[in-house]
Amino acid sequence: MNHKNFEIINTPIQINQVINKVEDRNAGAINTFIGTVRELTKGKKTVYLKYDAYISMAEKKLAQIGEEIKKEYPESKVAITHRIGELAISDIAVVIAVSTPHRADAFAGSRYAIERIKEIVPIWKKEHWEDGEEWMGDQLEHKPYPEGKPGKGDLN
């Protein structure tokens, strides 16, 4: 059995395996976030997506996010799996599981993880439409990088 808590894989994500990694007798809550492939973006119809990653660095950055959550919530446990390769509509792209003694921290940690993935983890999505394809850039809806890249504080 694989106990790696932060991984990039190219096969379907088994949600329960991610959840199992954060089970803890002191946990009062396990919050899971499941990111799926959406068909319509700004009116444009996606046929399928392709994800690619700088795998070794991406796994390190996922682990860094786990450390950041642990710093804020010392009793938390975090596991994140991101899938790459070709994904169809409704396929699961990412699963985040966070366990904490109390529910508010599990919600907050899980939310933090997905936002942080979109800032610092080297994974890229290519949307394929009926009439074309394009590598997508920064998907953040609330915090565009001022100079096209994260600031110093975002990276450490």
Partner: protein, 79 residues
Amino acid sequence: MSIRILLFAELEEKVGTRQIEIAGSEMTAGEVRNTLLEKYPEVSAFNSAMMAINEEYAEDQDVVREGDLVAFIPPVSGG
């Protein structure tokens, strides 16, 4: 005497390969960026990409030495 460079996403596609090498034994990350902008003037995405040295994000003034692995990281879109 060469520095290994990894390209991803749009950059990999435009240059046509994931891994390239440039001659040199010590230079700044910014100099690596400029070398590639000169070599591939049509690939403007080199300008907006972040850089990493040995799997850690780097600034343009950080030094790259022979044997280091440099990566150009276009704006990410995981999740």
